[in-house]
Symmetry: C2
Subunit: 798 residues, 2 copies
């Protein structure tokens, strides 16, 4: 290696490719994946058939709908295996690219192992706590009549929790697994054609999207079917099917628990490495971004994979799981209230919607072809992705309508399905508007980012003031949209004609649930676009590090810019659906508390001082959580700065390519620091609702207020949800806008790269980093985790 | 004037005083003040006796308590006249000082005239709207039984509103009037001794504090007594005294309406001038702060007076008025529920507490003497102010206890007064802890600001990230404190032994009200400390501009630093009391709605989708309001930058003192821009609750939900209050911490003045300016205005 460098010419930086070969520390692929990848297709097929057999046996005993769901999920897994084979069949490019890619892969896999090791230990500990709590809890009248004791209920919850946690972990791993392999293949494809690079990135993203969504659906379906068969549901003297979904909440909590730490750890990792690498490399040493001489460069590229791919996989997995379960609970409750003869259609509706999601998103993904039609000009990649999105949305409207007619038709209210189809349409339109609003505020084609860029021309201070104002202002439109969506979906549900025994309309909440499903009905395609971003970003990094010609860089730069926009817009989508899902879980929580406490629990009255205080504490939780998430990035970045400075001093040969920087040490430092830093905000999120609920339960006991703990926690949850939506919108949009204002100036506006205006914009970008990639996305997860933790921990508050 | 300059030596900047004489544009003192100041003491005395007579006649017909309140208020007015005479008797220093002071005075008075002209027009318009609404509203059963029709009720509300607006305007004017006169006298006194300068500043602040608090108390008392006599309260067939306080809400709304626009306009003015002057003067031209050659320097100094003194006067006036009225309403409601024989003690209790506030704060103000005791070392001015505060607090505890025993003793529950005294103690302790927490997070003697200063050493970006984290984190402790305060005061009230007819404890809310009063029981002294800040700041500017010797500057610098800390801590105090006052007004709102709608209105259930949406919109309102307030400063500052740049180009002689800059033009530009910019956020705050209430009222009408509008507005109010508390704490603390981090670095830490670290800290300071002096304090007012507007506009929602 040293020979190689010493024999090379010492000409100017751009003249010839310069990199350090052999960046790899040690190879690693987990056993289970090595087995699957090494399998003969025929063996795999036989194994699949066997799995089919068992699953379909259980499914057939439950409902034909479950059989449909299983079939679609398995088909989509087969499709995703095809996609993997297709992506992996692409070449890894010249050795210098492959070397860099291996180093990134090792760093990402190493961090993943350690991070998920820590998370699993915490999950196991929490499982024991949940077990203990449930063993001493009361049982609901429904459970008593079904003959389920505390012990059975405890094990059901703990098993669901652990399964959710495991699936969430796998979802995160899959997201990262494919991105660390696809990045180099995208770089390599970029040497040939822009369109091929785009297709590789999209298909790699599609692979993990299909797995993530498929697993969320399959997990819930398998749990549902297993409990159905095991508990002998609907046979006389057993549980009613309408009460079954409540047993699944543990799954949602497990998923959000893992997602929270995955997002926090990954988010801190990626931004600390990014900020730290830039502060010394770009600012102090004056070397370009992604330069191989920067000891933190590999850590930075690793961060994209663990922070964006793995964490976003776990995040969307958890969104879908939480939303499916809450909609199932509401469907069951409503079906029971309306005495619908066969409630399974209402309960299983969410699973069917997401099965169709898998089908139509696959169509969308495959609509992006590698070669453009002859005679047409080269298209903007954003246009290509948007065309795929349009295809998916049109199909979503059609399949959603068909699903409502199939499952939600009931003779009691013959036109109800039509109302619910409209609810779904409301959801689909809402998600479309959300994506559009995020784009308006973060894309430099529009006014807001241009105004922000102009404000940079008067200095760092005015840039920050303008960015903060922009972020705060950008909360208004999404809130108005979501308000209209909630109210109109509720109204459509109420007027669906479904009434309870007393003749009171009851479909309102279910209407909101259906709107949420409509919003998420293109989740797999949206996740594909989201995964596309970090893969393209990484590919750009590899191209830069391996010193490819300008033309290749241009291709990856365009893909990177498109990826930034899709990343920003899918965040809008994620927070919108989190808001709706939390509102549903809140209703489920009230039902649950009422069932366990044997007391009516129909309202959360914020005129009661304790309840008001709960709300105050809930909002404060969001502020404190954001503070800790941001300051964690700052502190970790500081450690990176010190390490990189140390390496430049101790190994002066690095700058002349004579000494290899110790990438591993930077990776290790960022990894251990971000694992340490994720604990504090994570623990805050988990402990505070439990502590508040418990304290007010005791207080309620002594002041003669039954249910005080449960009510205070409910207020805490609602206020946290509202503040969380606003804070996340603020952080995501401000961060995205700062990033793109910088990019806009780099296109030559207001003096271009290197001007004072650009420097001010870089400051904004640095501030935006922890906003948009650490604190903001963590709040999405936090909101849903609060909703599921209150559901699971309800016995503590009673 | 030109001769003067041309004959002078052209030596280096520090060698000799350099300034432009004759900075004054035109003199102006409003007629009423010229009359009062010109009066012979004997004539004044006779006039006073006459006023005494009328007021006491009405007071005596109402209650002896009112007579006591009147006496104290009038005594405090006499005292404040003494203080004015004392301050005005001090000399204005050398002519160059007086010249600068005149220019500041003219600018401030000019802006005040225009601003309050605009505000009065809006207030008159709103009065007509209110009149229209009330003429068509229903009347409550209480009003019907008392024979008050719609017309009487409409005129009562409008008169109260206009009186509140007028008094708030006077309070603002007084704050500004004294500060533009005291600033130059403090500068002049600083030439003699630090202690004398301190005393002048404190006594000037004390003058306006006594006027502001006294006028808030007297206004409510006069209205109460007038209505009492006019309506023949408590005579058979008339209104009951317990219903009387509800007629006063218009007063509170008028006060908060004016305060909102005063704070917004003043806040935008002061920070736009500050940021604009610094950006060109300090950064581009490299001349010191407060240099007479900067055309925006007078506008900057004017800003301190209109933004801090006038606006804060209106703010605290409105806090006290809102809190007195809400506590009176709650006292009346409770007295009625408990069938207390003589309810006037409970109703008039807040007036008595604030009368004592006037007395004890005067003692505190006079405890600061001009000469230190012989043989003792020179004291830190902060220590002197804190000693005064301790004296006031000890007296507050004693007088508060005495007031509860006097007014809240009832034979039905002999120990209730003791519980309420403890509630007051809770409030006093809360305010003390609030002040302490603000100091901890914003004073550079403590860890947080030092960490922030350290973060500046790695650049602009990390400074901003650290400041934002610090601000977000600083919300946690105050929220915990206020939570404990609300719950413990409520509990003390509930267990006071006061029960309603059904034997249910009812004193809880009144307990919270008493705690709020405890918190505000030292308001006059706190306001004195607050006014001290901008006066000292202005004095420093005058000393700098008139090129006084280093020793004089050192004295004003120390006073300025102390003023920064007191300003920051009193903001904590203001937001804490705003939180409690809003919670009380919210209860009053529910009572009011129930009375007008003839329907029970006991709860605000956030599980109803529309109500939840109301909450979402309420929180969003705070975010959007903050965004607009911040961006208004940015845009106005931009205009200042352009004007200053233009003057430097068109009058090149300015830099050599050969041409006089056109100060007036900068003042005029900032004034008209800030008046224009204050309309958008102000209108948002006023229109959105009315619009939301009206829309949901219509929606409720068509979906068969009575009271839907009122409930949605209630949720909006509560969520806005919670988000507002957090946002204001965040903005105030982050801004204060950035300011002091810069000051800490200027003491020599991390490279001191001029280092890169200092530049990063200056960026933070610039960002913090609109946070802490425009958006943050406006939110205090916004919270209370939302509470009073919903009370007054309730008929729109029903």
């Amino acid at each position: 290696m040293m020979d190689d460098i010493e024999n090379g010419s010492m000409g100017p930086y751009q003249d010839r490719p310069r990199t350090f070969p052999d960046m790899r520390t040690k190879p690693y692929t987990p056993l289970v994946f090595r087995l699957i990848m090494g399998l003969n297709t025929r063996v795999l097929f036989i194994l699949m058939l066997f799995a089919f057999g068992i699953i379909f046996y259980v499914g057939a005993k439950t409902s034909p709908i479950i059989v449909f769901v299983f079939s679609v999920c398995i088909a989509s897994f087969l499709l995703s295996i095809y996609l993997t084979k297709w992506v992996l069949a692409k070449d890894e490019g010249p050795p210098e690219m492959a070397q860099i890619s291996y180093a990134i892969r090792d760093g990402a896999e190493g961090f993943f192992r350690t991070q998920y090791g820590t998370i699993s230990k915490m999950a196991l500990l929490l499982a024991v706590v949940i077990l203990g709590i449930y063993l001493f809890r009361n049982t609901t009248p429904q459970q008593e009549s079904a003959g389920i004791g505390s012990t059975a209920s405890a094990f059901i919850t703990v098993i669901a929790f652990l399964l959710g946690a495991l699936c969430s972990g796998i979802a995160g791993y899959v997201g990262m697994w494919v991105s660390v392999r696809a990045n180099v293949r995208v770089s390599s494809a970029a040497r040939r054609s822009a369109r091929e690079a785009l297709q590789v990135a999209v298909r790699a993203g599609g692979f993990s999207a299909l797995i993530v969504v498929g697993m969320a659906v399959l997990g819930v379906a398998v749990l549902y079917a297993t409990f159905y068969v095991w508990l002998g549901v609907d046979s006389p003297g057993s549980m009613k099917v309408t009460d079954l979904p409540l047993l699944l909440v543990g799954y949602g909590f497990g998923a959000s628990f893992v997602a929270l730490f995955a997002q926090l750890g990954g988010g801190i990792y990626t931004k600390a490495a990014d900020v730290g690498a830039d502060l010394v490399g770009k600012v102090e040493q004056g070397i370009p971004e992604d330069d191989p001489r920067n000891p933190a460069v590999i850590a930075d590229l690793v961060g994209d994979n663990v922070g964006d791919c793995a964490a976003r996989g776990a995040d969307l997995f958890e969104s879908i799981a939480a939303e499916i379960i809450s909609a199932m609970i509401l469907g069951g409750t409503m079906a029971q209230q309306c005495k619908i003869e066969d409630p399974s259609g209402f309960i299983l509706f969410p699973l069917v919607v997401h099965s169709f999601d898998l089908v139509i998103s696959s169509v969308g993904i495959f609509s992006i072809r590698s070669t453009r039609e002859v005679g047409k000009p080269v298209e903007d990649p954003m246009k290509v992705l948007e065309k795929g999105y349009s295809v998916t949305i049109v199909l979503a409207v059609l399949t959603f309508g068909a699903s409502t007619r199939w499952l939600l038709y009931t003779e009691q209210a013959p036109s109800a399905w039509l109302n619910f189809a409209l609810c779904g349409l409301v959801g689909i339109i809402t998600s479309y508007i959300f994506v559009w609003i995020s784009k308006y505020y973060t894309d430099y084609k529009h006014q807001p980012v241009r105004t922000l860029a102009l404000a940079s021309s008067t200095g760092h201070g005015t840039n920050i003031i303008a960015g903060v104002s922009l972020g705060l202002e950008s909360t208004a439109l999404p809130v108005l949209v979501i308000s209209v969506a909630i109210i109109s979906a509720f109204w459509l549900g109420q007027t669906s004609g479904l009434v309870d025994e007393a003749g009171k309309p009851t479909g309102g909440l279910f209407g909101t649930a259906v709107a949420t499903m409509g919003m998420l009905s293109t989740a797999a395609y949206v996740l594909t676009m989201d995964m596309f971003g970090p893969i393209a970003d990484n590919a750009g990094g590899i191209v830069e590090m391996s010193q490819q010609p300008e033309s290749v860089r241009e291709i990856t730069d365009v893909l990177d810019a498109v990826g930034n926009t899709t990343k920003a817009t899918t965040k809008g989508f994620a927070i919108g659906s989190a808001a709706l899902a939390s509102f549903l879980l809140f209703s489920a929580y009230m039902d649950e508390v009422a069932a366990f406490a044997h007391l009516p629990f129909k309202e959360v009255d914020i005129a009661i001082p304790e309840v008001f205080v709960g709300g105050l504490l809930g909002s404060m939780l969001i502020f404190l959580f954001s503070a800790w998430a941001c300051s964690a990035v700052g502190r970790t970045a500081q450690e990176v700065v010190n390490e990189v400075r140390r390496q430049f001093i101790e190994r002066p040969g690095i700058m002349d390519y004579k000494e290899k920087p110790d990438y591993g040490r930077c990776v290790a430092i960022v990894a251990s620091a971000s694992l340490r830093e994720m604990i504090k905000p994570g623990a805050l999120a988990i402990i505070s609702p439990i502590a508040v609920g418990f304290v007010f339960r005791i207080l309620g006991h002594y002041t003669g207020h039954p249910l005080l703990g449960a009510k205070v926690v409910a207020a805490m949850l609602m206020f946290a949800t509202v503040s969380g939506i606003l804070m996340a919108l603020f952080l995501n949009t401000a961060g995205g806008a700062w990033d793109n204002a910088k990019k806009y100036i780099e296109t030559g506006a207001y003096g271009g790269k290197g001007s004072d205006c650009h420097k001010a914009a870089v400051t904004g970008d640095t501030v935006g980093d922890p906003f948009k990639d650490t604190a903001g996305p963590s709040i999405h997860v936090l909101i849903k985790m609060l909703a599921t933790i209150t559901l699971v921990m309800a016995p503590v508050f009673l």
